[in-house]
């Protein structure tokens, strides 16, 4: 069956499966739904918004990220054509373009999406406290939780790996007792869903390079070495410090260094967005910590396109030292950090700072090999999903009706991810025009 026959044999335009409710997945879902297509939006976590909602502001216009995305999330949640399946993962796909059968495992949330109004009354009584992954462990959360204030859908989930009922078989019902709306449902079961869809958009996003693999930067060894994502959460008004950029001792830094391209050599590619967000981080620091001394240690400045250089110039004007060099080692001297680096002409030098921010490479998600296997997608350069149909798919293989969008395809910024999501919708809708 050719891709051109995306209209299934009943003459209907079949639903579309979108995997990943980050910015790409949401954009694709909204456009497909607007065209009248039924969309199943499958999301692995308990919330939507992907990585973008972790950020306070986005370059170069410094728009508030959550304010920017929340209306899209609200539209998606309210859209009658979109069925959001959180805590869900695709297990298998069979069939041909226009006529796939997809098995989805939907884990129980144990909180009713219908009854819960998101008042948070269940959090306080929960006796379990664990590190909040969403905040890179910088705060604690309960076993019944939402990852951050403002998360959508605003309905908590019970983390069965930590809840006393599920781990120790205890009869704790404190969250249920606190709920005024009978929304806690301990007897919910995981479900196996079978969905009939015509096409699939894979928008599973990215992970960041594991900084402990490059011990010379001192990550997790010295307390004031942060990943870029951690800095974003510090700056986030709904984050662990409600937006204050402070060191682990609660004091603002007097000086900070931002190191670009961490993991680039290991990965073998440029992650496209790190120069720009590192400039944004300098902007955060300039904005929140008056008088802070800022260094950027970089190799090549990659600020492509019509508007990014202006942002760089603005940040530079406000006082940032740009050092072209390779970092050799980070060490701790008293409470401060010393960064030893080598310039292009071979000279070694050091700077001392209070705070160090590392810009890690963007890499395919940890589970991308499994996803690739399920959908028969090729993994190309860097292990990202390959958009190119290099060879004809074997008969009956699902590859043809599968479309890749966003950072699942390769490192890129929000603008490019959104465009790509819209592009995949263009391809899908054009099949049944």
């Amino acid at each position: 069956m050719s891709v051109g026959s995306e209209i299934n044999n009943k003459g209907q335009k079949p639903p579309v499966l979108v995997i990943g409710a980050g910015i790409s997945g949401i954009e694709a879902s909204l456009l497909l739904a607007n065209a009248g297509r039924k969309v199943y939006l499958v999301e692995k976590s308990s919330y939507t918004g992907g990585n973008v909602i972790k950020w306070e502001e986005v370059y170069p216009n410094m728009d508030c990220a959550t304010c920017m995305v929340a209306p899209k999330q609200q539209d998606m949640l309210a859209n009658e054509n979109i069925e959001l399946l959180t805590l869900s993962e695709v297990e298998s796909i069979q069939g041909t373009p226009g006529d796939y059968t997809v098995k989805v495992r939907k884990r129980a949330r144990y909180v009713s999406m219908v009854e819960c109004i998101g008042c948070s009354a269940c959090f306080d009584p929960c006796p379990v406290e664990v590190d909040n992954d969403f905040e890179s462990g910088m705060t604690k959360r309960k076993a019944i939780y939402i990852p951050c204030a403002g998360a959508l859908p605003n309905v908590p989930a019970i983390d069965t790996e930590n809840c006393l009922r599920f781990t120790k078989g205890e009869s704790c019902e404190l969250c249920k007792e606190a709920c005024m709306f009978e929304a806690i449902e301990y007897d919910q079961q995981d479900e196996e869903l079978e969905l009939k869809v015509g096409a699939v958009v894979v928008a599973t996003g990215f992970d960041t390079f594991d900084l402990t693999k490059v011990p010379q930067y001192g990550y997790r060894k010295f307390e004031n070495v942060y990943s870029a994502l951690e800095l974003e959460r510090l700056r986030a008004t709904n984050g662990p410090t409600t937006g204050e950029l402070v060191l682990r001792n609660g004091q603002p830094p007097k000086s900070a260094a931002i190191i670009h391209c961490v993991g680039r050599v290991e990965k073998g590619y440029c992650s496209s967005v790190c120069c720009m967000y590192s400039l944004k981080h300098a902007h955060y620091l300039q904005d929140k910590v008056p008088g802070v001394k800022i260094y950027q240690i970089y190799s090549d400045l990659c600020i492509p396109g019509k508007s990014y250089q202006r942002f760089y110039e603005k940040v530079k004007e406000h006082g940032v030292d740009f050092i072209r060099g390779n970092v050799l080692e980070v060490s701790e001297q008293g409470k401060g950090l010393t960064i030893k680096y080598k310039t292009e002409d071979g000279k070694e030098n050091t700077i001392a700072v209070d705070m160090l921010i590392l810009a890690p490479a963007i890499e395919p998600r940890a589970d991308s090999s499994e996803v690739a296997k399920i959908f028969n997608i090729a993994q190309g350069d860097g292990g990202f999903f390959d958009e190119r149909e290099l060879e004809p798919a074997p008969a009956g293989a699902p590859r043809e009706g599968i479309f890749i969008a966003g950072c699942a395809q390769g490192p890129k910024d929000i603008q490019e991810s959104v465009a790509e999501a819209e592009a995949m919708v263009g391809k899908i809708l054009s099949l049944s025009k």
Partner: protein, 560 residues
């Protein structure tokens, strides 16, 4: 008919009830004039709550409803739907946010109650002046005009054309393919550009319902999303043609900065200094030769020509400069290739590999602050200064200048014709840099490829497909477009014709009626932002659902 207002306060379980004395609120508002019924409910957004609300509206024959509950972001739509089901126009509802703005943020119960009371009274005061609004629908034309027959325009047209949608592709020159025609290969896979572009042109020509108009120029565009009227001048026949379309894709490509304006590069002065496009054409012709007919022994490729002047990085020059090194190395054995660059910009998963493979062919990379092409006896020499301030020089038989990518010369013409703003760098501005990268503030008009900003062939294709996605999603054949109900209107009687409103409207929704000498709002384009209302010096502009009376009544009560 006398107003009959119903006031419903939601307890939201204990969320509101615990911190707001709801009975006190009810008691105080029940005596206000026209208040027909006051009720509280445990959870108005629940199925039981909605049924209760619907029944109560019908039972009391209400003309207006106030719901004092959570943020309108949460449940305004829910309660508007209930009103509609109860047979009441949904715009006759007003929400008072007494949860997020009172119960949850004001710790003292007495203060929270006072605040909730004021918010509720303000809503009652406002809702009296609400008028019923209708969401209008308009017919729309699914056909599309694509301007520009380069790779971006071709790809957009391919995806869009179909049995129920005609696509007109208007190209200024005599042939399709645009700049890609001039390339031999495409980075990073070094696929044949000619094969790729001819295949795409073939696909386009075979597609159903595509009309290609070469040697044609768009001279006028009037109208709006779903209903554009376009005039095209067919130059060969000197004929004018009218087209009706629902959406327009601007794929007008780019121009190259003329390095002749930058004297340090010796362009136009020395024989063998070429722009990147000239070099592409020379290579595509099959041979790379100096003006004297000999093969160059050494070639210098200078990056970022004009970057400083333009104020932006043109995104593709590093990569095509690497490609040029490949061309040279494959055509001329032993040729010495030097790249003069400042920062290597090779973003994305595949490009560093391309760089490394190119470097391995024996290409020199010299990081410089500035360069100058000077005369050296019979040949040329590149004089340069490194970042550390060291000076150096290198002889070269040929110099290739990777010039900045500029907006096409037609950009300002279309910007004016379509009322699309330009970005600081002169390219068309997108509606939102992050979330609506190929849309413009003028609905139904899309910017793709290098018209949107400098980019690669691959990125241009993605943007074209994105425009197709937006259009296929919006203009569904046979489906009407639903319009915003809360639009602005301009009073004929009060408008003085000063046109201030036109200058502040970001959507091009206001036009000037020359005959009546007044401004007129196009409801199809108006998003209800209210700019014109704030700017109008004579009070002629008003926004439905946010009229001065409604706002004053609400404020007066809130601030009493």
């Amino acid at each position: 008919m006398a107003k009959k207002i119903g006031v419903y306060v939601c307890e939201c379980g204990a969320n509101i009830a615990d911190n707001v004395d709801i009975d006190k609120v009810l008691a105080e508002v029940s005596s206000l004039s026209n208040v027909e019924v006051v009720e509280k409910h445990k959870l108005l957004c629940s199925e039981a709550g909605k049924a209760f609300l619907k029944e109560s509206i019908q039972e009391h024959g209400l003309t207006n409803v106030v719901v004092a509950a959570c943020s309108p972001k949460q449940h305004e739509l829910t309660f508007m739907n209930v009103c509609e089901q109860a047979g009441l126009n949904p715009y006759l509802l007003q929400l008072a946010n007494i949860r997020e703005q009172c119960a949850w943020v004001t710790p003292d119960k007495e203060e929270a109650t006072e605040k909730a009371l004021r918010a509720t009274k303000a809503a009652i005061s406002r809702v009296r002046y609400h008028a019923p609004l209708e969401k209008k629908e308009v017919e729309c034309n699914p056909d599309v005009l694509v301007i520009g027959g380069g790779i971006a325009g071709i790809k957009a047209a391919q995806l869009l054309a179909g049995p129920h949608r005609k696509v007109y592709l208007v190209e200024k020159t005599a042939s399709l393919g645009g700049k890609v025609n001039e390339f031999e290969k495409l980075f990073p896979n070094m696929d044949s550009a000619a094969a790729a572009i001819s295949q795409e042109i073939q696909k386009l020509l075979q597609a159903e319902n595509v009309e290609v108009l070469t040697e044609s120029e768009v001279t006028e565009i009037l109208g709006f999303l779903g209903n554009f009227e376009v005039k095209v001048h067919k130059k060969a026949e000197d004929q004018e043609m009218g087209l009706d379309v629902g959406a327009i894709v601007l794929a007008i490509g780019f121009a190259l900065l003329d390095p002749g304006s930058l004297s340090q590069y010796g362009y136009g002065k020395f024989d063998d200094v070429y722009t990147s496009l000239e070099f592409e054409r020379m290579n595509a012709s099959g041979e790379i030769l100096l003006k004297n007919g000999k093969q160059p022994g050494s070639v210098a490729i200078i990056h970022c020509v004009g970057r400083e002047e333009k104020g932006y990085c043109s995104r593709v020059c590093c990569l095509h400069s690497l490609k040029f090194a490949r061309y040279l190395k494959s055509r001329i054995s032993g040729v010495k290739v030097s790249q003069f660059y400042s920062d290597l910009c090779i973003p994305g998963k595949s490009h560093q590999k391309f760089y490394e493979e190119t470097k391995e062919l024996g290409v020199d990379f010299i990081r410089v602050q500035n360069t100058e092409v000077a005369e050296n006896g019979k040949g040329m020499v590149i004089k340069y200064e490194t970042e550390a301030g060291l000076k150096g020089s290198l002889e070269a038989d040929m110099v290739v200048l990777s010039s900045a990518i500029e907006p096409s010369s037609d950009t300002s013409k279309f910007a004016e014709m379509l009322n699309i703003p330009l970005s600081e760098s002169g390219f068309f501005s997108e509606e939102h840099e992050k979330l609506a990268p190929i849309s413009t503030p003028a609905e139904g008009i899309f910017i793709v490829g290098c018209a949107q900003g400098p980019q690669s062939v691959a990125d241009s294709v993605v943007q074209s497909e994105a425009a197709a996605g937006k259009i296929l999603s919006t203009l569904v054949p046979g489906k009407k477009l639903e319009l915003e109900a809360k639009t602005s209107e301009i009073s004929d009687a009060f408008c003085t014709g000063c046109q201030t409103c036109i200058s502040v409207c970001p959507y091009g929704a206001i036009t000037f009626d020359e005959a009546k000498r007044i401004s007129v709002v196009n409801e199809v384009l108006c998003h209800g932002c209210g700019n014109c209302v704030a700017a109008c010096p004579s009070g002629a502009a008003s926004l439905k659902h946010f009229t001065f009376t409604q706002l004053y009544q609400e404020l007066e009560e809130a601030l009493r």
